[in-house]
Symmetry: C2
Amino acid sequence: MSERRGPTIGVFDSGFGGLTVLRGLLPLIPGAHYIYLGDTARLPYGAKSRETVARYAVSSALYLQDRGADLLVIACNTATALALDDIRAACSVPVVGVVAPGAQAALAAVGKVPAEVLVLATAATVQSHAYHAACDALGLAAVEKACPLLVPLAEEGWVDHPVTRDVLRIYLTEALAEASPDAVLLGCTHYPLIADAITAMLRELGSDARVIDSAEATAQTVAQALSKAGLMVADSAGEATFECCATDSVEKFARLGSQFLGRPIPQVELLDLGG
Amino acid sequence: MSERRGPTIGVFDSGFGGLTVLRGLLPLIPGAHYIYLGDTARLPYGAKSRETVARYAVSSALYLQDRGADLLVIACNTATALALDDIRAACSVPVVGVVAPGAQAALAAVGKVPAEVLVLATAATVQSHAYHAACDALGLAAVEKACPLLVPLAEEGWVDHPVTRDVLRIYLTEALAEASPDAVLLGCTHYPLIADAITAMLRELGSDARVIDSAEATAQTVAQALSKAGLMVADSAGEATFECCATDSVEKFARLGSQFLGRPIPQVELLDLGG
């Protein structure tokens, strides 16, 4: 085995959704090695309290730092929205979340201020108003809408399904009564799986808002943070590599996770973070 | 404060659903004191592995035993189905689960063998086939159907809602293609909240099966177990009392839990079980 030259990047999510962020990262930084941690034993975070989410996220981030990560990506909207400050305070390496890159991506998509952004997210993310603050800092007005049934529907595999369309019709009708958005930001890493259904329902309801996924924008932010920290190795070459860890069933992680990552996950390591 | 004469009974669930069992217990055993523990920081259990559910359930059961419980009620179908033997091995007090009482209640309702029972439950409970075994021991043929969207729909408060009816139509049509049940057993403590919708959909689909909730049957089994263990105090009188503990937000527990218990929950104690 040749000596590793590129950076080691820890990617954390409560479950599988953050693999959509890893998917965006893999082609972007040659020579990097990724350690992905899904806290599947304690998921979902989206309906839990700030204190509990912060405790779980900090323990997971510290684990990845101890495994040698040079930089951490919090690829979970709820953990970023509720606990980014706690994670940064606990860790000594740079930490990138998904909320600020998501707001940046929305700004890039609408290409103007003022503009209105509809953020679809978990109940906990909405209650934190983290997206509201991140959008406000860029001159964007955010309307935040909690969509608690979208994660279970995506996990049930009802991606192109009449029930999912009915649920989207209800959530989006409620949201569009309060907003005339220029962009709709997917504020949960599960939602890219039903992005097509979200776009179709927006059109049905008369909105031409563009649907924005923060995964690609987060990947760009990671590349910038690596450069800034002097971790981007100029002569790195070759495909990036990754390994996956989970706190619950590794078989289920490999099976479901490959849908989010878009490629097979050959091996998953079972972790006990004490939960 | 007068000296307590009745037994102390620990009631455990992953969240709020077990409060429907506590609701059945409260009027049944005068003088009893109940300690209810909802492991809300780590819920839901229904899609997790046997190993993880057993670890969580055993730690919760030991906590209740250490708090002085004379008997434990595992008021969670998933924890009973996956971990009842582990809990009994770890604890020294009698442990009552919900699966065997549920099967008994189904037998009492149909009043004959052979008979066919449709069990609606979480994915983990179905995969364990615990209900199949419990029904088989009584001469009942069980068909088990996983209904992963029913808990999120009940928690969203969509109890009498067209989307919930559509989801039930899909699940029950699939199940009735494989079974002609004499009874439908609610194998998850969340489902009593949508029992009326389940009954109405069965009738729409041409089934006259009776819908059975194991909460009352579990309460009767607890009374018998207390007698057998010599813990039923003959001169106990007065209303039973209860206290509630949760591992996540106590405000949310008090608010949501009162819907399941059918009465206000004045105070909830926050626990850290190390998760």
